[in-house]
Amino acid sequence: MDLAFIAEVFPKLLAGLPLTLSLAVLSLSGGAILALLLSGLRASSWLGAQFANFYVYIFRGTPLLIQIFLIYYGLAQFPALRHSLLWPLLREPYVCAVLALMLNDAAYTSEILRGGLRAVSSGAIEAAKVAGMSRPTMLRRIVLPLAFRQALPAYGAEVTSMVKATSLASVVTLMEVTGLARAEVSQSYRAIEVFLCAAVIYLVLVTVITRLVHWLEARLSTHRSPALDRSPA
């Protein structure tokens, strides 16, 4: 291993970290909002539920990379769009990458949310009903807090998987960590050293996020006791 070379490459790659993080944060927040909307839609009517199911089916059934390409390259096929006011935005690789990541994340997150909601026991809901709680109060005080706690481990996995997925943005010319690594390799031809450096950056990032989620989980699940959890069933 050429330590001098690694010491030189590492800071170069780190320069892409802000872009990686901003892609992840934006698409995760957008995805979360969209997922909540999808859940609302699912609960609203039969047609809404069909649409939500179809959306999830499409986005989970195809590769993320093709979704990115469809938005980045595909939209250019429509002259109407090319001449529209939106075009300066939709031409931007950054916007396209965030859009694709966000739409994709929404599909997975809405499924996670659905699982969390399903795990809220009917007893807890009955107790809220019988206390005369209105629907919004019940949602805010009982259902969503319980669903959120239930969904947290799965959502943590989704967060790390989105952070990793931001590397695909490099394919549409964005110079985040993977993009910078790719550029560096095309100059130095030292693929192993450079890509391993990039891998370390992601590994550290993912480890930090995993720790954070575990910490949050531990804080929120003090109410759960492994020994007694099942006894009152």
Partner: protein, 264 residues
């Protein structure tokens, strides 16, 4: 139902309640009245409709037909599949606000501590001041003998303790009537006593209560009236001495004997 001369006001009244699940008719015209201070125990074999009857009062089950009154709120049902108007839904919520319900399986909110469970409704549904809610919730927990468990999570409590917290929660909303749906059926035998003691103390305070239970000796002792339900109809009703010791109905006699036998 109260034969004494002083007519106390009615707290809960059911009139001609019918309820079917699919083709199965579970309740076939039930009339029942609980006046202030009555303790009514409802007994019957499983499948007699006693739990369904109790769950009809706060509309956890929606009766197909009949009339439900709690305090000043009356809701009239005209047929299965009744669609409630906005006003009716609000009425149901107000009606629910006047009763405390204790479930067989406790149904504490698992993400809240004991104290938070008890404070939840006064604070977030009734909108009373926080300090007052806390003080009263602590008093309620003390009353059920769990003052020291105020910060415990439900999952860390025994079944008997959970059920006592659930009773404190039901009391905290200052209900006019308390409904108990087989409150000790999900408990290990050695935990039944602590819960029954709490319910007995509440009866002695003169609270209005309806209790669905299998604990015959307990029911006989605490109730002012008893009802024996069979196949969705009231087969026997009267003072506990009559229903438990000398019922008119032969079926009721057999049921009470069978229950009081070796099972006790």
């Amino acid at each position: 139902m109260n034969p004494t001369t002083v007519r106390t006001p009615t707290t809960v009244r059911l009139a001609n309640i019918h309820k079917s699940f699919g083709r199965q008719e579970v309740l076939r015209g039930i009339d029942l009245e609980a006046r202030d201070g009555d303790v009514i125990s409802i007994i019957g074999s499983s499948g007699s409709g006693k739990s369904t009857l109790l769950r009809c009062i706060p509309f956890l089950e929606i009766p197909d037909q009949g009339e439900v009154t709690v305090g000043d709120e009356t809701i009239v049902l005209t047929g299965a599949g009744h669609r409630f108007s906005r006003a009716e839904r609000q009425k149901i919520r107000r009606l629910r606000g006047q009763i405390g319900f204790v479930f067989q399986s406790f149904n504490l909110w698992p993400h809240m501590t004991a104290l938070q469970n008890v404070m939840e409704v006064p604070l977030h549904v009734q909108g009373r001041p926080r300090a007052e809610c806390r003080e009263e919730a602590e008093a309620m927990l003390a009353k059920v003998g769990l003052a020291d468990k105020r910060d415990a999570w439900p999952a860390h409590l025994s079944g008997g303790q959970q059920q006592r917290v659930a009773i404190a929660r039901a009391l905290a909303s200052r209900p006019r009537a308390l409904l108990f749906d087989e409150p000790t059926s999900a408990l290990d035998p050695e935990l039944v006593g602590e819960v029954l003691r709490v319910i007995r103390a509440l009866a002695e305070e003169g609270r209005t209560m309806l209790i669905v239970t299998h604990e015959m000796a307990f029911a006989r002792e605490v109730s002012s009236h008893a009802i024996y339900l069979h196949e969705g109809r009231i087969e026997e009703a009267g003072p506990p001495q009559q229903v438990f010791l000398d019922p008119v109905s032969e079926r009721c006699r057999r049921f009470v004997r069978g229950q009081a036998g070796p099972v006790d």
